[in-house]
Amino acid sequence: MKSTLKRAGEGGRCGFEAALVLGLALVGLLHGAGEAADASVGRPPRIAPDYAGIVIPTNIAPLNFVIREPGVRYRARWSAAGGSEVAVEGKSASIRFPAGSWRRFLGVAAGREVRVEVAVKEANGGWQRFEPITNTVAPEGIDSTLVYRRLRPLYNAYQTLGIYQRDLEGSRERPVLEGAQFGNGCLNCHTFLGHRPDRMALNIRLSGSPNPTLLVATNEVTQLLKTCGYLSWHPSGRLLVFSANRLSLFFHTVGETRDVFDADSDLGLYRVDSNTVVAPPAIARPDRLETWPSWGPDGRQLYFCSAPKLVPMKQRRYREVRYDLVRVSYDVDRDRWGEAETVVSAEQMQLSAAQPRVSPDGRYLVYGLAAYGNFPIYQTNADLYVQDLRSGAHRRLEINSDAADTWHCWSSNSRWLVFSSKRQDGVFARPYFTRVDEEGRFSKPFVLPQADPAFYDACLQTFNVPELVSGPVTVSPAALARGVLKPGRVLKPVPVLHPERPAGAGIQETTDAHQEPSGPTED
């Protein structure tokens, strides 16, 4: 308006324009005088996603949201003590904060409480002001990249799935590798070495051929002719412990439809330097099922889940299979394993353990517990638990929901935990973040923010295996696809018989749970 007045006055050639502008201004003033007074609503606004009472990292992308209140105009403002703020106003209830202003705001607000004020203009012209929402900006940030597998809820068939990396400081998502790049193959768990984006391992499933594992070091991709299930890098980068599972998908006619049965599993150790595979008895007992390996941060202890093998080990006995959470010490220099020690007893808890992950500072162990089995994402009762490794005390996390909460990963600074949760609707898993303070309190989780705050409302894809890494994955999707289809370097690991391991007790090859239906089974 200011520029219009100036132009009209300078030219003096169009008095009509000036009169029109003045007239409009007068109408505006009269209209404003006619507006109803601002009213205060004695409750916080309804916004989605739920960004109320949360703690956020200093480098997270704008927490855009939709105001679920009726109105004709909307105003939202994040503010911190000291005058820093970021505000948006417009006709749309979809509130999107400018990335630059948001970043500056978080920079100033680090370590402080912040208020989210929302006002909605009603059709009669009055503004409704809601009670402010109080959040906290943590003093520290989170690793800048989240890598996850994004796919539709899968049953037997799969066609469109991929591993993607999301810039947590912005909204950009890029593929790491998509199944379409290698004949709609399947991608299994991706594992990084110490949150480094340049060292990863990834198992691939191809139709009609062996399922290799890709090892990535910087931009070099090596195809390892070894099927690996769940993986964990030793902090030294010299060892990769993996599980070999015989999984099968089955279905229920009531309750959660999908379920997974593991008929057999062992752990194995791949030595990167010597290209050898060994199955030490400490982690590959013939009478037990071992899975979900995870190294402690110093590499001196390996956590995993272990259950006794049933005789007979039939799918109909799926409810009887419960896994203990155990750990075993390991001396990497002398290649010596200690005795397995039970951390969580399935017998005592009457629950089954999965997915142990120790925080990088070695303070906390977070793991999952479900009613049975070792595939918690398909069980609504799957929850996260924590053990304080100083005190040894266990507790169920207060952040759990009624739906499955699984697939957690620590940030490199041990302050943040990301996990997949189906809490929103019971079907689609989304990545949620929670902050862990010095006293071991976990803050209310918030969902991964998206540029479009209504993104999840119509998103038919599930996000699992969220892994935090310190920067963008260095290897390109094309290089990874070449590593599958036309690998430049192929290694066939040499099996080494362990002195204490009975001959012939080799490691079972992994089979993916999601396969073509094998027909009715009533075993």
């Binding site: 539709r152 899968l154 089955f250 229920h252 006619t253 439809t257 079907v427 479009d452 239906p517």
Partner: protein, 565 residues
């Protein structure tokens, strides 16, 4: 080829490429192109009523959503923009007349572009402009894939090529750069289908204007096109074209698609009308459509064998028979009350067939029945972005706001009454277990009861048919269906001296008489099945006996037309 000189009105003979000749060819004041309009109207009517865009939509329509995310996904790759445009236009097939209009418009533009490019004008070869359109109609009539994306690419290339020929027509210097730039742009926007014709047009034009043989060819072509057209020739071309599209229309596939579409819309009478007395094959989605239609008509156990059946195919197809069965199977399982299994099949259809409105609607229903209203909203929110389906999704979202259980919605309440209550865990659920589970949950589940008996018929378990005759009593049905009677007669014959446990029911004289006749034919041929087959197929091809003996019904036996009973 040399150009034949033309005779002008003043009697002098001039070469067609001379200005005077061109003047001669110039038509008088251009009138309304009635001929073209009439032809396009014919194309529109044929597409609407002959090809039926609704069937094309059912069979091959690409997935499309309103919204920036769907568009940006297409913009991120070469050719994506053309695919986006084609997918958007293909949605109009949901309304037959509009879909036909798109096809007609595209064919018209293609004809215009070709006419301009080849300088056909009003000459004798003007009908050539319609040849690509004819090919388009032929391909549409095959129902195998969507022609729209490649077709649109060619249409745009033809139009742009015609403009190029008018504006520049050269590939040297500045215009060469422009041509190359446009080629890159077109490759990005449309990929192969638009870039290749564009480059071909440019190169052909360049050859025609720069090489001696090209120039000669050009002159010859102009001479050929200079001859005045004749309505008789045009009419003959149109007649041949019409014959070609009529002959190449895949009527069998069209009918099968009609059956699928009618089944998806619950038009059971129409399904049977389309299926009866015609070759069908045993594709799982068609079989299932017929079984459901027969059930809804109260004829499942009376006329099951009048349609193609082949051992060991069951009353409920398996996903292993083809992914196209997943969606109708999900619908069937839901109607039976097997909500979890319906969810399984619907998700397979979603993964393999894409995010189509029918599957999204189905998954929303399933999630409401499973008590997950929020998940139902996600599916409906997705469906809301599909053209022509947004209103239905909106209505259901509003209904969910009022009542997350949708207790008042008829399609939900009906299933809820039959929902199974016991768990069966397995990689696959055997048909018998599945159906008996439904009956355990609700003994009044007529569909489960009739499908169970059909399963026993198809698997030849006559003893179980005899054991479960009480099912009809539970349903209050006193008439014993024809195939059940046939199975009981055959069972009785296999157990001589043992009275059949008919539970108060009686078998009429007609099945007994016919069974005796069936056996008589076999006896006449000394029990040799191959020799007996033609006559038995003709007279008994729609009976349980024929199916039981030969492993298929007469309708599944090509070359034998069974006589309907």
């Amino acid at each position: 080829m040399s150009a034949k000189p033309l005779a002008s009105r003043d009697g002098h003979r001039r070469h067609p490429s001379t200005p005077k000749a061109a003047e001669d060819r110039r038509p008088g004041r251009p009138g309304f192109p009635w001929w073209t309009a009439g032809l396009l109207a014919g194309v529109w009517l044929y597409t609407w009523f002959g090809i039926e865009p609704v069937l094309r939509y059912h069979r091959t329509a690409p997935v499309f959503f309103w919204g920036a995310d769907f568009l940006s996904g297409h913009l991120a790759r070469p050719g994506g923009l053309l695919e986006y445009a084609a997918a958007m236009l293909a949605q109009l097939d949901a309304r037959g007349a509009l879909g036909a209009f798109v096809t007609t418009g595209a064919i018209g533009l293609l004809g215009l572009g070709v006419a301009c490019l080849l300088r056909l004008g009003a000459g004798g070869l003007r009908s050539l402009a319609w040849l690509p359109g004819l090919l388009w109609l032929v391909l549409e009539g095959r129902y195998e894939f969507s022609v729209l994306a490649p077709g649109l690419g060619v249409v745009l290339a033809a139009i742009l090529g015609a403009i190029w020929r008018l504006v520049a027509g050269r590939l040297v210097g500045f215009w060469g750069l422009v041509f190359g730039g446009v080629a890159v742009g077109l490759w990005w926007a449309g990929g192969f289908w638009i870039c290749l014709p564009w480059v071909a047009i440019g190169v052909a034009g360049e050859l025609a204007s720069r090489t001696a043989w090209g120039k000669g060819l050009g002159r010859s072509w102009l001479a050929m096109t200079a001859a005045r057209g004749h309505w008789g020739w045009d009419a003959a071309v149109v007649g041949v074209g019409a014959a070609v599209v009529a002959v190449t229309l895949d009527r069998d596939l069209k009918r099968l698609t009609q059956i699928e579409a009618c089944a998806a819309g619950g038009q059971w009478d129409r399904v049977l009308e389309l299926a009866e007395g015609r070759p069908l094959g045993v594709a799982p989605e068609i079989r299932l459509a017929i079984h459901r239609a027969l059930y809804h008509a109260g004829r499942l156990n009376k006329d099951l064998f009048a349609f193609p059946q082949r051992k060991p195919l069951d009353v409920l197809p398996s996903m292993r028979e083809g992914w196209k069965a997943c969606e109708p199977l999900s619908d069937t399982l839901l109607e039976l009350g097997q909500v979890n299994l319906a969810e399984h099949m619907a998700h397979e259809a979603l993964e393999l067939g894409g995010e189509r409105a029918r599957v999204l609607w189905q998954l929303a229903r399933i999630n409401v029945l499973l008590g997950r209203a929020e998940a139902a909203r996600v599916f409906l929110n997705r469906m809301r972005r599909i053209p022509f389906h947004g209103a239905a999704a909106e209505r259901r979202l509003l209904a969910l706001d009022r009542d997350p259980t949708l207790a008042a919605e008829e399609d939900i309440a009906r299933v809820r009454a039959f929902r199974v209550t016991t768990d069966y865990a397995g990689s696959g659920v055997p048909t018998e277990v599945l159906l008996r589970q439904c009956l355990r949950a609700n003994g009044r589940n007529r569909m489960a009861a009739e499908f169970l008996m059909a399963h026993y018929l198809l698997t030849g378990q006559m003893d179980l048919i005899a054991q479960h005759l009480g099912i009809w009593d539970d349903l209050g049905q006193w008439e014993t269906p024809r195939h059940i009677e046939e199975a009981l007669v055959a069972y009785g014959a296999s157990q001589p001296g043992t009275p059949l446990p008919l539970g108060g029911r009686r078998i009429g004289p007609e099945p007994l008489r016919r069974f005796a006749a069936f056996q008589g034919v076999l006896r006449e041929n000394d029990g040799r099945l191959p020799e007996s087959r033609p006559r038995l197929a003709r007279d008994f091809g729609d009976t349980f006996w024929f199916y039981h003996v030969y492993g298929h019904t007469g309708a599944a036996d090509p070359g034998v037309a069974p006589r309907r009973q």
